[in-house]
Amino acid sequence: MPVIEVEALTRRYTTRTGFRRRTRKDVEAVRGISFEVGRGELFGLLGPNGAGKTTTIKMLITLLLPTSGSARVLGHDVVAEPREVRRRIGYVFGGDKGLYERLSGLDNLRYFAELYGVPAREQGPRIGELLELVGLTGRERERVEGYSRGMRQRLHIARGLLHRPDVLFLDEPSIGIDPVGARELRQTVASLTSQGTTVLLTTHYMFEADELCDRIAVIAGGLIVAEGTPAELKSRVADGHVVEIEVFDGVGDRLDAVRAIPGVTSVGVEDGGHSQLLVVRTDAAATVTPAVLGRLDGLALGRVATREPTLEDAYVELVRQA
């Protein structure tokens, strides 16, 4: 039996603005998505900002009611049996909020241990074990207001694991963490799944999803536009190539000309500070590098490289098509 079962899940928000002339706006954040996650699986939910990832997670952790459709976690309906769901899940979100600043890290963990009904005699050893796991041993008696963002994020992880949840929801957990901290976080998450914990992860970092996830669903505009293993998603664009060209002048007015080259499927620009990286995706048959260089004639160019598509390329392509 799947641990998470989502069927035709929809969530609509209604916002009202204005005082005298109230205007009402309906936004369909999630539009009938369906997916399943198996026991011990690490399932990634990828999508741009506003795609519906967090709304989906909030419905699964019982903070929001679906407008229609259904969702079950460990066989319990998120609408009808919220308390049963809450007992068995952990929820961690990114950023430096969501902690009691005036309390020490230890008191934060003690408080949430009480909320999750961790027996008093088990709290001490469990908290000690988690502090060790997230590398906060020795800092636990300091107030959280003095913690760095990375320390806060690690404390979040410890908090989410206090009651040994069967399912852990991680909503962009590595946002704002330095590379070393993010790597440690990935190791921690990977070790959880090896112990049988089911994890649903949302992230913007493709390498993170590629490294960690067993399966991924790409969500855009409230719809799942693709689902599969990272390898399967990459294979969707595996027939093509990616040409990367470093440009030292502004590339802006040449973009349309590059897009018009036969065989070019998409063009993106990544700002690198003193230069820009033009990323040109092509279909299998096309050899477009000379044509692209021709369109950029007169600009100061740096490195030119051709490479195989990555998960990020697959993601960009999928979101672009959505």
Partner: protein, 262 residues
Amino acid sequence: MRTSLRIFFLGGLTSYRALFHWLTPWILIPTFVVGPIFQLLFFAYVGRAAGVGDDTFYLIGNAVELASIPCLFAMGNTIGNERYTQTLGLLLASPARRLPLFLGRALPVVVNGFAVSFLVLVLGALVLHVSIPVAAWAPLVAVLAVCAFSCTGLGLASAALALRVRETAVLSNIIMGVLIVFCGVNVAVSALPAWMQSVAQVLPLTHGIEAARELVAGASWAAVMPLVRDEALIGVVYGAIGMAMLFFFERESRRHATLELA
């Protein structure tokens, strides 16, 4: 059961420490001691100058009423500040039973309210040279505790709005104004217009203030017992309204996403 008791006592105290941002000497002493003494002195001297009431009248009225500072604001903070720390979602996503979770937060507030009242009573009596009969002190302390309890009930009802709106401090200020005007703090309830007297009967503090004044005037505990009972009953009713509102707004937050959109 044990889990609920731990959430009520330990959880309540922890969230009070975590969320009541006034718990620093630089805010605590001026807010709970200096300001209240000035309020007391102001009304006592106005009363003296106008020749309408003695110092004891103002001392009792203000000492009891000043419990409303923590009872309204601390109660509002310990629920409303969950929004600012963005812990409200985590709290509501936890399986903890809501009754001990929120009622536990009221317990330190009751103690805080009582402490402020008692301190103002003692310091005020010393400053204004008001003599309170020794026999009256024990029942008086009990009345102060009951008043802190009933006012916290009102505070809980007001704080419950934090699950629906961003700001509860404005409402707390208005409620404080209502209490000081309607409850016989500085003007006897009997001197108020009839409609205000009717409102006073359903507000916390009114019966408690009357009971406290009668005790200082020499009444026995048995004589003021009906007033104390009514005061406690009003606290229970407001507390129940507060809990019902918390349950309602939590359900609404799931339905209308008000935690995100309020």
